[in-house]
Symmetry: C2
Subunit: 363 residues, 2 copies
DNA sequence: ACCGTTACCGTAAACGTTTCCATATAGTGA
DNA sequence: TCACTATATGGAAACGTTTACGGTAACGGT
C-alpha cells in the first residue's frame, strides 16, 4: 500500500540470501538468444511496435509466453522517457473514503490493463512537494492525487508537466492546463445536509470534524463552509467555539469529539459529522452519554460508506458517488495521456441517503 | 496501495507531457560534477561506505542536501543485487484486518527508515507464484506475506531464497529455513469463542464466514476448525449444511449470510462470525429480521477492529494483537536480513473482548 | 538494369546507478 | 632511503531495457 521516499542512507551490514541464479530472472537477452533474433527486435515485439513481421512477432511472443518472461520494470523505467505507469498519490492515513475510492480506481485501471503505483503521504507533509519528488523517478505518464487542500498545489504544481487529476478538491481556480479535477460539491452538500436538519425543525446544530483546529469562518473544509452558510441563511449564526468540534476521520476521534461537543453544548438537537466514521463514533458516544438517536439528537454523516448501511440505527448520510468519481478520473486521465486535450473540472452529484438517525426535533 | 503485475503489451499512442528538463532530475553525475569528485566517490558517500575521507564525505553530503538530490531508485534496483526495499504482499481485496496490520507494519518500517513496497494480489490468484514474479525485479531484501493458505506456499516458495515472513498462517510444518511465521492461534481462538458461547449455555450455535464454499469438516479455516472442535468436545456435532454459512470478509456479505443462516436455522441462539465486519453485518441483519441481540441471539466476532468498539450493541470479539504481530514480523525480518539466523514460528496471544452482544441463553 | 521504396531487422548508445579494479598519495617500519 | 601497507579516489564495466540509426533484401516502376 505504500512507497516511501527513498532514503539516502542505508543500513550497512551483510545481506543474506538472494534469488537463485537463472531460476527466476529471464532477460530480454535470453529471449533474443533463444529466438535467434536480436534484442532490438524482441523489444519491438514487447512494445508492440510496427516494423516487425507478423511471423517473427508470433514466434517471439510464443517464446515469451512459454518462458513466462516479463520485462524488468526497473530497467524499463530507467530508460523510458515516460514509463507505462500511472502514479496515485494518496494523502492521509486512515481515511476510509480514500481507501474506498482508491479501490475503485484500482479495479478500473486493472480493467484497462494499466499499471499503477500508489504512494501514501502523511497529512502533515508538504504533500505535493514530497510527492513530486517521490514519483519523479518513476516517470509516470500521469498522476492522480487523492485529497489535499488546494493551497498545497498552488506553488508546487508548476513543476509537473504531466496529465494529472485531482480528486476531492476543485482545482478550477488554479488554472493549470494539465490538472483536471473531480469532486463532490462539498459546499453544496454541506448546505444540503444542514438544510435537511433545518427542515426537520432543528436549530441547535453542531458540527463534527475537519481536523484543522481552525475554529473560525475561514475554515477550509467545503462541507463546513456550506453547513455554516445554510445556517446563516436561516439567520442562525454558527458559533465555532461552542458548536464545532474538530476531529480526524476516524470513529475513535469522532467518539471523543462528540463527547466533548455534547458535554459543552448539551442543548444541541442535531449533529452533522463530516464523515461516516466520525458519525459512527458519535452514534456510540451519544448512546453512552444517554442521548437517544434520533429521539434526542439527530445525526447525519457524510460519504455513504458501506458501514453506514449496517449501523444501528442506520445512518443518514450524504453519499458521494465513488464509482463515478473514480470512472471520470481514470477516463479523463487516460484520455489526456493518449490524446492530449484540455483539463476538465467537474462536480459529481451527491445523493442523500435516508436513515434512522434523523428525526424531527422534539417540541 | 497497489502495484500490478507488469503487463507485456502497452497501449501504443503518443504521450503528452513530461518533466521539464533539469528542473526535477538531478543525477549522481550532477553531484559529481558540482563537487569535483567522481561518480564512484559520490556513490560511496550515498551508500555510507567506509573508503571515503571524513572531509569529502561532508562536502559531498552538503551538496546532496542543498540540491535535494535523491538517487534514482530504478537505476539502483537495476544495478543492485539486492535492493534496499522490503516487499509486502497482501492477499485479498477488502480485508479490513489486513489493512489494519499493514498500517502497523508501515508505521514500524517508517520508524526504522526502511523502504517498503506493497503489492496486492487477488484472492483467486495462484498467489505466491504471481507474487514472486511480481516482486522478482524489485529484488527486495525480504518479503512479508500477509495472508494466504499454507498450501499455496508449499510448492512455490522454494523459488525464493530470501528472508521472508508469513503473517496469519503458521508455516512451521513447511520447514523452509528462510520463512518465519507469526499468527494468532486461530484454532485455539475459534475454540475459545465457541467455549465462551457454550459457557453461556448456548448449544445451538451457527458459524458465519470462511469463503471457501467448503461445507465440510475439512475446512481450511483454523477458526472454524477450532469452533467445530469445541462443539464436538461437548458432544454437539456441527452440521455444516444447516448451521454454517460461508461469506467473504465484509459487512455486506455478513448481512446476507446472516439472513440466510437464520432463515434456515431460526432456532440458533448464538452466532460466531469469523471477522468483525461479518459480525457487524450480522448485527444489522438480526435487527432487520426482528431478532434482538443479545436477548434472542448472541453474536461474537473476530479481529477486534476499532469499529467493533463503536457498534451498537458493542461487539464481543476475539482481539488479534496486531501491534505485536506487526512488531514481531518486522523485527524478525530485519534481523534476519542483517544477521541471518534461523526462521522462527510463533503464535501470538489473542484476547477476548467483552461486549454487549453476548448474553446467557434464554431458558 | 537501375534506382527508390518499403519492410524488416541488427547494432550500439544511453538511462543512473553500484562496484570491482587500478592508481595515487601518505604514512609506516626497517 | 626503500619497500610496504593503508587510505582515498578515479575509471569503467555492468545491470536490462529502449530507440535512433543504418543496413539488407525484395520489389516495382522506369
Amino acid at each position: 500500500m505504500e512507497t516511501f521516499t527513498v532514503t539516502v542512507t542505508e543500513m550497512p551490514g551483510k545481506v543474506y540470501g538472494q534469488y537463485r541464479e537463472g531460476e527466476i530472472m529471464t532477460t530480454i537477452k535470453d529471449i533474443a538468444r533463444i529466438s535467434g533474433y536480436s534484442i532490438g527486435t524482441v523489444s519491438r515485439v514487447i512494445n508492440n511496435r510496427a516494423d516487425v513481421s507478423e511471423e517473427t512477432r508470433e514466434k517471439i511472443s510464443e517464446i515469451i509466453r512459454e518462458r513466462g518472461y516479463q520485462p524488468n520494470s526497473n530497467a524499463r523505467k530507467l530508460k523510458q522517457v515516460i514509463s507505462s505507469e500511472v502514479s496515485i498519490i494518496v494523502r492521509g492515513n486512515k481515511n476510509v473514503f480514500f481507501e474506498s475510492i482508491l479501490e475503485e480506481i484500482q479495479i478500473m485501471m486493472r480493467g484497462y490493463d494499466e499499471n499503477i503505483n500508489v504512494h501514501f503521504i502523511g497529512e502533515t507533509d508538504n504533500e505535493v512537494a514530497t510527492a513530486v519528488r517521490t514519483v519523479s523517478y518513476i516517470k509516470p505518464k500521469g498522476i492522480i492525487f487523492l485529497g489535499g487542500y488546494i493551497d498545497n498545489f498552488r506553488d508546487e504544481f508548476s513543476q509537473i508537466n504531466l496529465p494529472c487529476v485531482l480528486v476531492t478538491t476543485d482545482a478550477r481556480d488554479l488554472g493549470f492546463e494539465n490538472l483536471s479535477s473531480f469532486t463532490t460539491d462539498y459546499y453544496d452538500a454541506g448546505k444540503y445536509a444542514v438544510n435537511k436538519l433545518l427542515s426537520y425543525g432543528h436549530t441547535r446544530i453542531g458540527i463534527l470534524g475537519g481536523y484543522s483546529s481552525n475554529r473560525s469562518r475561514e475554515h477550509k473544509n467545503g462541507k463546513i463552509i456550506g453547513a455554516v452558510e445554510a445556517l446563516d441563511r436561516q439567520g442562525i449564526p454558527f458559533d465555532f467555539d461552542r458548536d464545532y468540534e474538530p476531529c480526524s476521520y476516524s470513529a475513535e476521534s469522532g467518539y471523543e469529539a462528540a463527547v466533548r461537543l455534547l458535554g459543552r453544548s448539551p442543548d444541541l438537537t442535531a449533529v452533522f459529522a463530516i464523515s461516516d466514521s466520525i458519525a459512527l463514533g458519535a452514534l456510540r458516544a451519544l448512546k453512552d452519554i444517554g442521548r437517544r438517536v434520533p429521539e434526542d439528537v439527530s445525526v447525519i454523516g457524510f460519504d455513504g460508506l458501506t458501514y453506514a448501511k449496517y449501523s444501528i440505527p442506520r445512518l443518514a448520510t450524504i453519499r458521494q458517488d465513488t464509482a463515478t468519481l473514480a470512472k471520470k478520473c481514470v477516463d479523463d486521465l487516460l484520455l489526456r495521456i493518449t490524446y492530449g486535450g484540455p483539463a476538465v473540472h467537474e462536480l459529481i452529484p451527491y445523493e442523500f441517503i435516508e436513515g434512522e438517525s434523523v428525526a424531527p426535533v422534539r417540541q
